[in-house]
Amino acid sequence: MATVELRFSALPEHVRTARLVAAAVARRAGVDEAVLDEVRLAVGEACTRAVGLHQSGGITAPVKVLLIEEEKQFSIEVGDEAPRSAPGDRAPGAAGGDLDAETEEDEMGLAVISGLVDDVEVTAGEHGGLIRMTWPTTPPAAVLP
């Protein structure tokens, strides 16, 4: 089960809240202070992308963020409910065509995420997409007997 689960209406003003909550939980989970800026930025990018997909698709469902504390690692999953066809299954003529502004921003968001996070998984299917990002955590100092 996720340590903290967050659901928010797909509105730009809530993305900041998601960033703040994610950074607070990451800090508590033992993610290195130096990496918290990256966590904040990456989760913001993932949420921004999800909000954009919900808004452009007219989807009223909330965006879902799971903050998962595990042994030696901390993961964030950002899920959207925007259906898309299987990856690589492009519409005829779409490949190599001009990207519109929205797609460009979407790509830039993903570029930032993959530039920041070493361990990232992006999946998408007919029921929506999921970005899972994982960071190592420093376990609390062992208590010697």
Partner: protein, 113 residues
């Protein structure tokens, strides 16, 4: 924190001082400001990012949009930034090759291509 914007003119350059967080919620305000300046005939912009606490790809998109607009009038858009965490975002997206980035407003104002 919200976004704060103020402008100042030095010679033919217009300085746009930005403070706070530039994200999907606040970026439209910055976009409006840049569009307004270009529409009013300011084609040489210096965006001072020293007061920016947070910048994401939406903010980058707005800056790229601003650059496109001023270039259409043979203008320029220079950035002032010394913050490593902000500079990192320009580096990982390759935008350090697109924007001239300066360490001070004075340096940006004095710069010519």
């Amino acid at each position: 924190m919200d976004l704060s914007l103020s402008t100042e003119t030095i010679g033919d350059r217009t300085i746009v001082r930005v403070g706070g967080e530039i994200d999907v919620y606040t970026a439209p305000k910055l976009r409006e400001q840049l569009v307004e300046l270009v529409n009013d005939g300011s084609f040489h912009l210096v965006v001072d990012m020293e007061g920016v606490d947070f910048l994401d790809s939406t903010g980058l998109g707005v800056l790229v949009g601003g650059l496109k607009r001023v270039r259409a009038h043979e203008g320029s858009l220079r950035l002032v930034c010394n913050q490593e965490r902000i500079l990192k975002i320009f580096r990982i997206t390759g935008l350090t090759k697109v924007f001239p980035i300066h360490t001070s407003v004075e340096e940006a104002v004095a710069a010519t291509d």
